[in-house]
């Protein structure tokens, strides 16, 4: 009731004199997207014939695969959101020791190559995994007590593990700014906690929840290794599996492109729908109310404390379990002719003795930091242009920026060959290509994060700044940027992780000549050295964990 809705300012912004200036700025993210995503993808999509595309859509086998892809993505999304919400509350309402650490840990699943994620999962929850081995000893039995993996629920569980941090991050930053006076007002009016959540809190969180859900959905829609391995076989096949088969085993590039296009169209439509929905629920609330006071853990009532502890235990098991399993593996090696496992640093010795390790670490760090530096400004501009309606079709633009996630990685990989073939092969050029490609891959996360962040900024703050004499740039730097601090930190964490864990673009665009940590992991595995791969993976987690910890720590105080 106190706020201007976005519509009110619409006519002014369209007619405004800054139109051309903002469209020049908007060119930056658009051209990055164009050159490093649209061009390579179109170079593959142009192989599609209309008849072939229609054939693909009419094939009942593909249809059943598409519907399963849909189903598992929807269930996974729901599960990740439900698991993420209590965490979002925890992070936004409570002060407890190790909070920063938890915050840093949550994004780590993103950095590990999927082979190691799967391995970690199996080491932890598998039939011979840590949990089952403990239970077997405890129950004194030889039978596997908990058959968790190789089923539909294992897919959902792994997807939840992978994705609930997205919900946790996006929603907790919205929640911490949701304003306590609104809640207090509702309390005075006699609303119970459930009612308050439903009628007061949920509407405020909705845009962030929808944003998180759209990212998670697409992520699960495109999932591949997790589904095949943990699902237990071909009964659970997704579109991506079929695209992989067509592109790499059957070498039928047209059919692969057709199927990828079908997937992309579906995700684009869904994204568009999500964005519309989000716009609707984002109208009219501000972030200039008093932030929620952080409470100490001890202030909670006993059952609440118990519940929270239980939740923390669950998510630590879910997140830290697989990651820890990989880390522990890295400190083991085979001993004796019987091949038993003992503690050893051999894996580190073998992984790091070669030439590749040093340059892989250096390259990964350079790529990750550079991708942050490119994707953050590009993402802010793209999000800004669509939220503030500086462009004609904001929803269309937002959908386009989400698509790098929605087009099959296999097909994008093929597209990179076209991109790679037009750029002279000097290694500096290659590095730049990879950095931009990583930035584009991170853009969906970055744009989404900033979209919800910018929507939360009360428009009258900007108008107030303007009436006080501040121009567009001054207002942006002095008012909007500081208010976006939380979004910048989250977006940076996502961009960093995505780049650090990316392998497709790094391998193809460099012709394999610029090693990164994930490439080193991949190569160690193909030469049978799984322990070395775990060592490399552990190092990657450590580097990224440290980076986020530092960003959180220094970003938490005033950096502007």
């Amino acid at each position: 009731m106190l706020n201007y809705s976005a519509e009110k300012i619409l006519p002014a912004q369209r007619a405004g004199g800054r139109y051309s200036a903002s469209s020049i700025l908007f060119l930056f993210p658009v051209s990055v997207l164009g050159v490093f995503f649209i061009f390579p993808v179109l170079s593959i999509f142009r192989n599609i014939t209309f008849a072939g595309f229609i054939d693909t859509l009419q094939n009942p086998y593909y249809r059943s695969i598409i519907s399963f892809t849909f189903l598992q993505a929807a269930v996974s999304t729901l599960s990740a959101i439900l698991i993420g919400l209590p965490g979002a509350w925890l992070m936004s309402h409570l002060e407890f020791r190790g909070k920063r650490l938890v915050n840093s840990l949550t994004t780590l699943p993103f950095v590990l190559p999927s082979v190691l994620v799967v391995l970690g999962f199996v080491l932890c929850f598998g039939n011979s995994g840590v949990i089952n081995s403990l239970l077997m000893k405890l129950l004194n039995t030889d039978k596997t007590p908990l058959r968790i993996l190789y089923s539909f629920k294992a897919i959902i569980m792994a997807h939840t593990f992978y994705n609930f941090p997205i919900c946790l991050r996006l929603v907790s930053s919205a929640w911490s700014q949701s304003g306590k006076s609104r809640i207090e007002a509702a309390q005075i009016l006699g609303a119970g906690p459930v009612r308050i959540f439903r009628t007061v809190t949920l509407p405020v969180l909705m845009p962030a929840i929808i944003a998180a859900a759209s990212l998670i959905f697409i992520f699960c829609f495109m999932s591949f290794a997790v589904i095949l391995v943990l699902g237990g076989g071909p009964s659970f096949s997704t579109i991506e599996v079929e695209i992989y088969r067509l592109a790499r085993i059957s070498i039928d590039l047209e059919a692969a492109a057709s199927l990828a296009l079908a997937g992309a169209v579906i995700t684009a439509l869904l994204t568009y729908f999500y964005i519309k929905l989000q716009k609707k629920s984002a109208a009219g609330f501000s972030n200039d109310e008093a932030p929620i006071a952080l409470r100490k853990f001890g202030c909670l009532s006993r059952p609440a404390r118990l519940l929270m502890l239980l939740y923390l235990l669950l998510i630590s098991l879910l997140i830290i379990g697989p990651l820890l399993a990989v880390a522990i593996r890295s400190f083991q090696s085979r001993a004796g002719w019987s091949g038993g496992l003992v503690f050893s640093l051999n894996a580190y010795k073998s992984a790091f003795s070669g030439r590749i390790a040093g340059s892989a670490i250096k390259n990964s760090l350079i790529f990750a930091f550079s991708s942050v530096l490119i994707s953050i400004p590009a993402g802010i501009i793209a999000a800004y242009a669509s939220v503030r309606k500086k462009i004609r079709f904001p929803e269309f633009s937002e959908t386009m920026f989400m698509l790098p996630m929605g087009v099959s990685a296999v097909v994008i990989g093929l597209g990179y060959y076209s991109l790679s073939s037009i750029i002279p092969s000097a290694s500096e050029n290659r590095a730049v290509l990879i950095i931009f490609a990583h930035s584009v891959i991170a853009l969906p996360f970055v744009v989404r994060t900033f979209t919800t962040g910018i929507q939360r900024i009360n428009v009258s703050l900007i108008e107030a700044s303007q009436t006080l004499g501040a121009g567009f740039a001054a207002t942006f730097i002095r008012i909007e940027l500081p208010l976006l601090k939380g979004s910048i930190i989250s977006a940076a964490a996502f961009a960093f992780c995505i780049s650090a864990g990316e392998i497709n673009a790094a391998l193809i665009l460099s012709d394999g000549a610029i090693p990164t940590i994930p490439i080193a992991i991949y190569r160690l595995i193909s030469s049978y050295n799984f322990f070395g791969a775990c060592a490399m993976g552990t190092l990657l987690m450590f580097i990224c964990g440290l980076a986020f910890y530092l960003i959180d720590r220094f970003g938490g105080s005033d950096i502007f």
Partner: protein, 347 residues
Amino acid sequence: MKKTLKLSLLMLAAALIFTGCSKNDENKSSADAETEKTLVIYCYDSFASEWGPAGAVIPPFEEKYGINVELKSAGDSGQVLSRAILEKKAPKADIIMGIDNNLLAKALKEDVLTAYKPKNSGMIPEHLVFDPEFRAIPFDYGYFAINYDSEKITNPPATLEDLTKPEYKDSLILMDPRTSGPGLGFLLWTISVYGDDFPAYWERLAPSILTITDGWDSGYGLYTAGEAPMVLSYTTSPPYHVEYEKTDRYKAVLFDEGNYMHIEAMAIVKDAPHRKAAEMFIDYMLTEDFQSAIPLTNFMMPVNPEIELPESFSYAPVSEKPLLLPTAEIDANLENWLQSWLEATTK
């Protein structure tokens, strides 16, 4: 938005002009005699890796012939071929590596290869020459084999049929033939043994399968992590554990019906920019310098029978009954086979 669109189009145009320029540059330079001193090889990634054969075999070649080798690792062998197909109109690679019996048909259909019979081709055992016209020239081979953990399995299976026994319930990790080379190899193995009855075999096999993974990587990783005692891999896998982990815990078994072969070949690309250098490399590929590096870097058997194998390779059994389906038959039936396989495994 209109302005933005215009400007974006301008950018794209600029990019295309840039593309054209760089292409011209290359054409110009290819006329130079200097370029005969270059050789472009697209290889699968593990070949180029620090732990793969490249480090041992490429520098000696460069030194000996004064040719600069540009080794481009284009992902897995399927991606290597895809890339060559995408560049068909203006080939950039001279040699593509990793063509096998299954990929050959696709490569021939797309007409991206050219024949070259190496000078020393006579020493390749005949059963390894899967393309008599020498468009694909083998450089190493191995047999697919069920590997097992001898700490957990004391009574290993001796036939494909044995795998269906109840004692092996949930004990086997396989790979998906839709996404993995070894996975496809195993499917073809069952087809060469059971013929048209293979779907029935897969139905019998189902209880023994713990999971079917996307690729060899995750499958073998799960196996060595102890999740299942049997996995589909190669006869040449145990030597790794002997050589680097000093254990013979992991063993490969030969089956009475025979073991399906995996033969890796190189091929010269049609209209290769550096044809002569490519031929030199193919000849070199069969010499001892190259072949002797294969066992411990690629964990495959060299095609040159005169190479003395390292001691650890005594743990790699050699099949008396190698199986291999003809390329043409695979090409004609693969889609149907995969469909029947899917129906059998998702039942």
